[in-house]
Amino acid sequence: MNINDLTVGQEIGSDTFSFTRDSLVKYAGASGDFNPIHYRDDFAKSVGLDGVLAHGMLTMGVAVQVAVNWIGDSGKVIDYGVRFTKPVFVPADGKAEVVVTGKIGAIDLESGTVRVDLSAISSEVAVLGKAQAVIKL
């Protein structure tokens, strides 16, 4: 990929991810984050939440896949940060969809890096804020 062919604002890809309770249990095991707010309704309610919610880190890990699929090499993501703005509630018997879109946010010719700005939308609200992945081309 030639950095000179890219333009700020250009869309690099989009994908829809479906989270079920299985996704949350799988992520808990893979990450080691066994906070029961991510798999037990009774526990989530007891700490004042509306229900079981996805790990923010699951949404973060999934969102960057749009950038990884575009560049083809996850090792080229040298800096990746997000804010968790809204929870993604995942029903026991259904799914929550997260739509992720990536756009070129900035191009740095000197360092040969590109910043990809990711949006992650679930039920029409942005669940990540300032989700930015810097990619070394």
Partner: protein, 148 residues
């Protein structure tokens, strides 16, 4: 409330974590990665890596181990059941690959109070077997105050 006196506190290095191929594959599957470099040794080696490459957020597995030491620290006084993740960042010097032997050192960068809530920022530096910095994971947790 989180004890503000733990600001600046550095926690002991975590025991060595050996990054396994199947752990990377398990994590890659959990974050819906279909990238061959996260799954297929030959594809990773063809791209110049020694073994399969961990997804960009894999450092959280190591960060989690450091966080457990803080959550277990009575001085910090963090109620895990009231914790919500505020933000997260990974600054990588190089990607984590299978076979890496990683340790981490966590420092409490800041403790702020926001009304009844506390915001705690942790910097977790992840090192390889040569003690070279692989990645810095920066995490802010919001600890919700008890409802009145």
């Amino acid at each position: 409330m989180v004890n503000p006196n733990v600001q600046g506190k550095k926690y002991p290095e975590t025991p060595t974590y050996l990054v396994g191929r199947e752990k990377i594959r398990e994590f890659a599957n959990a974050v819906f990665s279909t990238s061959p470099l996260n799954h297929d040794v030959a594809a990773a080696q063809a791209a110049g890596y020694s073994d399969i490459v961990a997804p960009p957020t894999f450092g959280v597995v190591i960060q989690e181990r450091s966080l457990h030491t803080v959550l277990a620290d009575p001085e910090a006084d963090i109620d895990f059941s009231r914790v919500v993740h505020g933000d997260q960042r990974f600054i990588s010097n190089r990607p984590i690959v299978a076979g890496d032997e990683l340790t981490s050192v966590l420092t409490v960068a800041s403790v702020k109070s926001l009304g009844a809530h506390s915001m705690v920022t942790f910097n977790t530096e992840i090192f390889d077997a040569k003690k070279e910095l692989v990645c810095t994971a920066i995490s802010t947790l919001v600890v919700r105050g008890a409802e009145s």
